[in-house]
């Protein structure tokens, strides 16, 4: 039975929302999760790649949501040369639909209430303070009261806007993406492929993430400001025609990935933003699942603490951005600076980097070697790369 009042209302049941809800509930807060769709995890707007090290603090491995186990990353230069990387630990291509449901189940196990087909419409204000959420459930308009709203509503970040937070990203700082799930193809089920180049995918890359030996997520993200004349779909169609002319498209999805630094403001009185909504995404890889879960654990714990202390103002909630900065936010900022550098890279430079990587002995080739080579000649960025690997591994 859904109550009229909770300590915390979480909007969105992706990995960010479910993890925030779990850690708030586990630490004593009463929590309601509102999900617009008919279940958690749909529609899947994701390439579905994660690292083992990244997800293991949050959920026990379950083969139900693991499609493939990845050991190799293949980097393809604009000139067709390729370098293989074996050294970044195991990764997985997920079944996000099942994974998201499993994460949401964990929140419910810890006591959170969860409703689907519940579309948040607006925040409810009282004396200038946020005190609840107005939402549509089926066809009925309802209101739920709460002390804290956690906005985990993805790239569009409506909750942030309602709260008066500046959530806008520059065209340069969003990748416009299209992805097909292809079938009837042959792929290496232990390898992810990445294709770079200004003709292939300007300001971004094309990925092939295998879901089995005969199916894969094949997608593209290009920098928003470079999509004026030609959109991502045209680039992807050219790529698929060239590499998988006989494939069948089983699933088509569009989306945007923020490749910015975390928003300057992710808390205000009675409100916190997490995940894509807070722009907590690795600006180079576009990976956001692990970042979202790390941030959301912090947010959930701080929310529960706020409930215990009965302090819901920005001053108290700021503990969350402070801890996030320490854990990953600062690294994200450095990664963002690196991304800006990569975005202006010529094809020749990409070719040279891959050529350099090909010469490194297999057991020594890692992301760090790659980034160090990529920023060679730029002392500030070289230092940044070194620091980012000391502070925390790039996720």
């Amino acid at each position: 039975m859904i109550r009229d009042k909770y300590d915390v209302v979480v909007i969105g049941a992706g990995p960010a929302g479910s993890v925030a809800a779990r850690f708030a509930a586990q630490n004593g807060a009463s929590v309601l999760i509102l999900e617009r769709d008919r279940e958690a995890g749909i529609p899947v707007r994701c390439a579905e790649g994660v690292s083992h090290a990244g997800i293991i603090p949050f959920i026990d491995l379950d083969e139900r949501w693991i499609a493939t186990k990845i050991e190799i990353a293949k980097l393809h230069a604009p000139n067709g040369e390729m370098a293989e990387m074996y050294n970044n630990g195991t990764g997985y291509v997920l079944e996000r639909r099942i994974f998201d449901t499993a994460l949401c189940d964990l929140a419910v196990e810890k006591g959170a209430d969860f409703i689907t087909k519940a579309d948040a419409l607006d925040l409810v204000w009282e004396d200038g303070k946020i005190c609840g959420v107005k939402y549509k459930y089926m066809s009925e308009i309802k209101t739920v009261k709460c002390d804290i709203v956690i906005g985990a509503d993805g790239v569009e970040s409506r909750v942030g806007r309602w709260a008066g937070i500046d959530t806008k990203v520059r065209l340069e700082d969003i990748d416009t993406c299209v992805q097909y799930t292809l079938s009837g193809i042959e792929v290496d089920e232990n390898a992810c492929d990445f294709f770079f180049g200004n003709e292939v995918s300007p300001g971004g890359y094309i990925w092939i993430f295998p879901k089995s030996r005969t199916t894969a997520n094949v997608g593209i993200g290009i920098a928003g400001h470079l999509a004026k004349e030609k959109g991502p779909k045209e680039y992807l169609d050219e790529f698929v025609e060239k590499h998988f002319p006989n494939a069948n498209i089983n699933y088509t999805v569009y989306g945007g990935v923020p490749t910015a630094a975390t928003l300057k403001e992710i808390v205000k009185d009675n409100i916190m933003l997490v995940g894509d909504a807070a722009r907590q995404v690795n600006p180079i890889t576009g990976g956001g699942i692990v970042q979202a879960m790390i941030a959301s654990q912090i947010a959930g714990e701080v929310a529960a603490e706020a409930v215990k202390e009965k302090k819901f103002d920005a001053k108290f909630l700021k503990k969350y951005p402070k801890l996030w900065d320490k854990k990953l936010g600062k690294t994200q900022k450095i990664t963002f600076e690196l991304k800006e550098k990569f975005m202006t890279m010529t094809d020749e430079r990409f070719n040279n980097i891959v050529a350099f990587c090909q010469k490194i002995p297999r057991d020594q080739f890692s992301l760090k070697t790659l980034f160090t080579e990529a920023v060679k000649g730029d002392p500030k960025l070289m230092l940044d790369v070194a620091k980012s690997f000391i502070v925390s591994k790039l996720k």
């Binding site: 617009r36 707007r45 579309d119 419409l121 549509k136 993805g154 790239v155 569009e156 970040s157 409506r158 806007r161 959530t167 806008k168 990203v169 520059r170 065209l171 969003i174 416009t176 993406c177 299209v178 928003g224 400001h225 999509a227 004026k228 959109g231 991502p232 779909k233 999805v253 569009y254 989306g255 945007g256 923020p258």
Partner: protein
């Protein structure tokens, strides 16, 4: 501005880049508030499926 609703996947990318807070998602549908729209074309550019186009006000 006009959204081709048959193409639109309601992915929310346009909302993230709108400087005027003119794009509204509700009930699995995207709409642009012509009164608020400043015609910066960010949404037209960023839409992955190019579902948004400019029309006379």
């Amino acid at each position: 501005m006009k959204i081709n609703k048959e193409l639109c996947d309601v992915c929310g990318t346009c909302v993230a880049v709108c400087p005027a807070d003119a794009i509204i998602i509700s009930e699995f549908e995207v709409n642009i508030d012509d009164e608020k729209c400043i015609r910066c074309m960010n949404c037209v550019t960023v839409c992955p499926i190019k579902a948004i186009s400019e029309v006379e006000k």
